[in-house]
Amino acid sequence: MSKVLVVTSGKGGVGKTTTAAALSAALAGEGKKVAVVDFDVGLRNLDLIMGAERRVVFDLIDVINGDAKLSQALIKDKRIETLSLLPASQTRDKDALTEDGVNGVIEELKKSFDWIVCDSPAGIERGATLAMRHADVALVVTNPEISSVRDSDRIIGLLDSKTLKAETGGDIEKHLLLTRYDTRRASRGEMLKVEDVLDILSIPLLGVVPESEDVLKASNVGSPVTVSNPQSAAGMAYITAAKRLEGADLPLTAPTSRFGFLKFFGRRAAA
């Protein structure tokens, strides 16, 4: 049974595309067949993050319009055999993205992949609502920052009302992925803590990805962080998250601080 996962957030710049690339690569690394689809028509970037920007010939809109076959538009990853990318169109109008068209593409992808990962654009417009439309599982990517948390709350509301699952009386499986987390700053009371965000959003936590230099390094070279540096804290956090998505009963790997005493001190001071 294949599963459709949407990576969403509402707010831009929180790490949706980074997450879609890193998680897809991690799932594929486990031997699963994964297709990752960029829904950000007009502002595609997943191809760049995955290092496939020079291999894009056809895109999602071409497939929807019948100008290309799905198999022609899918780009096979050069590093992981079971990973494929379906890029968004850079030039077409967003209106080309239609509900029926997206439905057709997802149904066809389901025939040959275990996971279909939909990388949502920011916002709550058509691209974002269509990216979440067919999802079985939603990953809400949130930064420990007020505007991101507020937008995530809004997105959770949409997941519970505008997805096919929700409309047919089902429950969409939702997970929180907290990214760009800085344990030191959180323990000093300068940043919302994991518990604060969980309290507010009330959805289960899939993982915490620490703020990491390795993420930018990975995007510089066009390789998901789980491929370019799987041993890094961010890489490990994504790999653990992927395993947990697959149902593995793994503990959350909280990013550890080198300054353990500060953490303790900060907590006491805030109390």
């Binding site: 007020i146 709350d153 509301g157 959180a186 000093r188 940043m191 507010i200 900060g266 805030a270």
Partner: protein
């Protein structure tokens, strides 16, 4: 304790958490809804306009979403006191 004071002053995260909790409580319940405020304004104005003449340009609307209570403040400038006909 100076160090403690110093650390306390830096704790902005609890402020963020409290602000979010108040805001989201309203957004989820729908009281943050601009349509609701517009509707309230129109209906309240309609009631007042039955008795006194109201210039729609001279109406100030303020909303303060707080915890535990929120206030909707309508400041309506009325031209002259209600005359005998209102009674």
């Amino acid at each position: 304790m100076k160090i403690l004071d110093f650390l306390m002053r830096r704790s902005s995260a609890p402020v963020a958490r409290d602000r979010l909790q108040i805001l989201l409580a309203h957004e989820r319940s729908g009281t943050g809804n601009a349509e609701l405020i517009n509707q309230l304004r129109e209906e309240v104005l309609a009631v007042i306009a039955k008795h006194v003449s109201v210039d729609p340009e001279k109406v100030q609307i303020k909303m303060d979403r707080g915890s535990p209570i929120s206030t909707l403040e309508l400041e309506i400038e009325i031209s002259g006191l209600p005359s005998a006909k209102a009674a």
